[in-house]
Subunit: 203 residues, 3 copies
Amino acid sequence: MEIPADTSLLLYWLTMLASIFSAAAGVIDARNKQFDLFGVLIIAFCAALGGGTLRDVILDRPVFWIGDSSYLVFTWLGALGTFYIARKIELSPRWFEIPDAVALALYTIAGTQASLMMGTDWLIASFMGVITGVAGGILRDVLLNEEPLVFKGPFYATASWSGSLLYAVLWQKVDPNAAVMATGVLIILIRISAIRWDLHLPR
Amino acid sequence: MEIPADTSLLLYWLTMLASIFSAAAGVIDARNKQFDLFGVLIIAFCAALGGGTLRDVILDRPVFWIGDSSYLVFTWLGALGTFYIARKIELSPRWFEIPDAVALALYTIAGTQASLMMGTDWLIASFMGVITGVAGGILRDVLLNEEPLVFKGPFYATASWSGSLLYAVLWQKVDPNAAVMATGVLIILIRISAIRWDLHLPR
Amino acid sequence: MEIPADTSLLLYWLTMLASIFSAAAGVIDARNKQFDLFGVLIIAFCAALGGGTLRDVILDRPVFWIGDSSYLVFTWLGALGTFYIARKIELSPRWFEIPDAVALALYTIAGTQASLMMGTDWLIASFMGVITGVAGGILRDVLLNEEPLVFKGPFYATASWSGSLLYAVLWQKVDPNAAVMATGVLIILIRISAIRWDLHLPR
């Protein structure tokens, strides 16, 4: 079942916002690396759009940002803005926790939805949601030559996976808007709670 | 020439077994990294299914695990089992040498066969076999932020490449079952001999 | 607008030369890593053909080297030649600066052209040119477990991006040969000047 057009439009603009924030967070992570301006734009691209690119390549769909340059424009505006602001004032990674959790929720929902629409089963769809949600951050850390935070950070992949499983279960059973809302709230709640109380899965 | 249906079915189940062992070996490699449970599942996915995913993306075939969730199920069963066993008893990487060599052989044969079936020439088919055989291990090491063992380990890529070249030569010249057997034996023999006597190519 | 057949043929052979030099540079970069022969061939493949592979996968085109094994042959000849020469005499990375700049120009032009031919807008086409130009080097450094030089090296991505933007602007406005020439000269000039005078973008 398609997400209704107005919800879809809202998600589209929220995703543009998410691209700005993911790009900004990528730039902050790269700040100790002395990358130059174009290096920063490439890191921002990977952080913001890498997960969705991987999802589309694996599902053999047209890559989402190829047909709509707004994604690149917003990602790079976020990166450039952060790059110049970061030279003036100290940006704390903590300010990005909530936007980052929102981005994780949006990417996860978009990935799970795209996979379900192509007829994959719930397990595969939920995993495609996780790939969409976390692969950008993994790619960013690999390019920065660091151990991916995703594997260690409090409940990052867990929040994404819980949400994508919920979404796959709710899909075609409840109203699409309700499924999107419930999933988004679950992912953001798990992620923010895990950061606040430093929760971890068994290692 | 297609591999006969019964050989194909045997290879299918052997590949499921190979997924379990590759996933298990990936978890063992990650044991010093303090990854959480979902991090471990992602590493296991990359180790077991990453090579075939890359092969299908490059050959523009449907990605093999998208249409059959058994691959994810067996990979994650292998990973979860190893994750819990590894907390109780010390698992030696040496126990995985033979299963790992078998997995390398199976993935190499599957990759070479898939490429030949799409009409590529022998050189490209043999390289696609190597990609299928070794890319999962490379991806695992990149995510663990380590130098890929594949480039240094005794005859890892060499065993895969020798096998895929043999398979490309034998294909459509001898009985398919014989080609699969000969290739499998060659890869496993080269790899196990190289480990036993610590053989290396010139560096 | 298609590039004329004779220019296209010239670019094809220049690209084969570029593959040889990119592969050689990849081998030189790997020389401190004690990789074995097959490891070196895989690094050379990534360095020389990785960027174009990523471009084709993202644009959903057939991967360029699948249908023409000359790419693999020239890449591996370059890698094998360098591998054996490097064991006899000390090869200086400086000798590769000009061939490397030429390769960057060729890959950038080929990527931008491929993207424009598929109807993407100028911003996306210029970025695809950069991906084609620099992703091979990024992949090489990731596999060597080093911070990608592309992000720090003097004007590497900048040269590529300036060229791809120029090419996207000139495309269908001027003679195709002139567009190729102007772009090539711009990229090589920026890159070589930046190396000579150690120019950097703001960090």
